[in-house]
Structure formats: C-alpha cells, structure tokens
C-alpha cells in the first residue's frame, strides 16, 4: 500500500467565471479525495498572449475542466490553453461544436446520428421560405443560446413573419442566422442523458406540459433507466463530436409515422438528439438519477490526467 502522504496528488483545475451549485459539488468531490487537489481558476482574472506562455496558474494543474458559464469565453480560453499544450476538458473542438446548435446538427447529420431535421437561412426572406418548406409548427432557435431562451414555436405564416421581423431588429448578428428545426410532438417529456467518454452514465426524464421542457424553465425531473438504445446513441454522438463530458437532450419520436408515442410501449418510439451540452448542469439530477455525476466526472479527469502524465 502506498502511503497517501507520499503519493503525488492529481491536481485538477476548475475553470469557472461564476460558481453555481454544480461547481460547488464538483469542488466538494475533488476536495474529499485524498489523491486530488483542487485549483480554482477564473479566466477573467488574467490577460493572455495568443502564442507562447499562458499565465503560470494554468501550468499547475495536471488537467483542467472548463465550467465557464459564458460560451464565448469557454470557446477562446480552451483554444488558447490547448495550443499552449495544456490538457483542457472539454476540448476546444467539442466546445465549439456543442456551443453552436447549427454546428451540432451539422456534425450529427454528417455522421448519421439520429437528430431533429434542421434548415438554416441567412435572411428573413429565405428563412420564411425554409419555414414554409419545413411546415407548421416548427421551431426557431438562436444558434448560440441556452436555458430555452428566445426559442419560438412557429405555428403559421403570420406568426413566422412577426417572429422573423422581431429577430431582425434584436440587434446582434446571431439573430440573422436562422436555425429552423422541425417541431417534435413530445409525450410531455424529454430525456437528459449524461455521457462521459462515450458512455451514458445517468439519465433523467424532464416532464412539462409546456413544449419547452428545460428544468431551467420549470420542467420536473424523474429517474430514467439507461436503455441499450440510449447507450448506442450516446456512443454515436460522442464519436461524432469527439471525446469528453457532455449531456444529450433526447426526444422520443414515433417509430411509425402518424402513430403516436406510447411511453408504456418502448417499441412505439425511437430516440433522436435535440441538443448537446458541453458544460452540463447536474446538481438537480444526482438524487433523481441516483448517480454521483460529479464523482464520475472526477474519475474521468483523473484518468485523463494519468494518461497525460504517463506519456
């Protein structure tokens, strides 16, 4: 037996700009392990060069996990750190893909992973054409955004014209990238599946009578058994976007067209991916799923750190 005092601790950096309940749970998980040391880093505290050395604090951890609440910060800092030879999880590529719904859909479709149908347009006129082709209802989403914000269910040409006009005057260029998704009639629930290194480690159902089921928007969560289909789609998604720590939003859709989903009959539905999250929130899913999600995350970080040290 190694004496815990003489074993070199794995130093885990947690990169975050705001500390929420999720980050605190991750801190607790790292602190309670004898073989780990926590290093908190706020990327807002430092200036950076694009090449050469990054601030010293980033060289101290064996591995860094990105938990930045701002996607744009996460996107750039992960790339800068990766280029400086620092092990950052998730990878800049994965963050780039998952932080942008358009890129997520592109990667999933290209790799043949089941996902909702999407059309993209860059002007109000072509967006209206795309919506008409998609059919009503359909869903308009900002390519970058979260927590179910600024998502619109478009039910008619009149509402499409109004929503497109509103988006055009919202100001930022993001709103002139029109991401149009087919509307999926859900059985008043969807599934949040937590995936690490291609393995589905936990899942919950999110119930809501509203068409938006995000728990940030009031959806209620219950436990969900991990099925073989869930394992397969998790692996396929991870293979498509690269390794890391992600959460999938899954829809149950009819296996046979026009035959509605019966949630008591798994043979009536199949799973498709709606979105993928790269900085997943998990604090409300631990008790519901019965899985120590931050524990699994730390296990993965230790594994990656050891691989890096070995090489």
């Amino acid at each position: 037996m190694n004496d815990p005092k003489t074993v070199k601790k794995i130093k885990i950096g947690v990169l975050c700009t705001r500390i929420r309940g999720d980050e605190k749970l991750l801190f607790e998980e790292i602190r309670q392990r004898d073989d780990c040391e926590l290093i908190k880093i706020n990327p807002e505290h430092y200036p950076y060069l694009l090449t050469g050395k990054v601030p010293e604090v980033f060289y101290e951890p064996d591995v860094i996990i990105d938990r930045c609440i701002n996607h744009s910060v996460a996107q750039y800092i992960s790339k800068i750190l990766h280029e400086a030879g620092i092990l950052i999880i998730n990878s800049p590529k994965l963050i780039n893909i998952c932080g942008d719904k358009l890129l997520t859909s592109l990667y999933l479709e290209t790799k043949g992973v089941p996902t909702a149908k999407v059309k993209v347009a860059y002007s109000e006129k072509s967006a209206l054409k795309a919506i008409e082709e998609m059919g009503y209802p359909c869903v308009l989403k900002p390519a970058v955004g979260s927590w179910g914000r600024l998502i619109s269910k478009v039910e008619s040409k009149t509402s499409a014209e109004a929503i497109l006009e509103h988006k055009a005057v919202l100001g930022t260029y993001h709103h002139s990238i029109f991401y149009i998704q087919e509307y999926i009639e859900k059985p008043q629930r969807d599934i949040r599946a937590f995936v690490i290194d291609g393995k589905c480690i936990a899942a919950i159902y999110r119930y809501s009578e509203h068409w938006i089921t995000n728990t940030a928007r009031g959806g209620k969560a219950t436990g969900c058994e991990i099925t073989d289909e869930m394992k397969q789609i998790a692996k396929a998604a991870q293979d498509a976007i690269g390794p890391g720590v992600i959460a999938l939003d899954l829809f149950e859709v009819p296996k046979t067209k026009d035959v509605p989903v019966d949630i008591n009959d798994p043979s009536s539905y199949k799973l498709i991916i709606n979105e993928i999250n790269h900085t997943m929130e998990f604090k409300n899913s631990i008790t519901t799923s019965g899985v120590n999600i931050p524990g699994k995350m730390v296990d993965y970080l230790i594994k990656k750190a050891k691989e890096k040290i070995k090489n």
């Binding site: 975050c16 700009t17 705001r18 500390i19 929420r20 605190k24 801190f27 908190k40 706020n42 609440i69 701002n70 996607h71 744009s72 932080g99 900002p142 970058v144 955004g145 979260s146 927590w147 914000r149 930022t172 993001h174 940030a216 959460a247 999250n277 790269h278 900085t279 997943m280 929130e281």
Partner: protein, 54 residues
C-alpha cells in the same frame, strides 16, 4: 451576517461560501456574487448574457 447590497436586508450566508459564488437574497430575490470572503463582500451578480448557460 452580511447586508444585501440591493435591499439592505441582513443575510445569512453559508460559512463555506466561495469567492465568485452566486447566492440569493431571500428578502428581495436579488442574485448576488461573492466578491471577497474575508471580509465577506457581496455585489449584485451580472445579468445573464446571451451566451450564458449550458
């Protein structure tokens, strides 16, 4: 005990609070960010930006 910078209510903040942590005033519902822990200093947390979230 610390004073809420928004409504001046006396707030109980957990002893293990961390710098950068977000907490909420139970009186006025304001989201507050812990700027320093010693001394404990709170400021109004920034409004959520378009690119925030998971």
């Amino acid at each position: 005990m610390v004073e809420c910078p928004e409504c001046a209510a006396a707030m109980n903040v957990a002893s293990d609070v961390e710098q950068g942590e977000i907490c909420m005033c139970e009186d006025c519902g304001a989201e507050l960010e812990v700027k320093t822990t010693e001394p404990l200093k709170l400021e109004l947390a920034p409004e959520a930006q378009e690119d925030w979230g998971q």
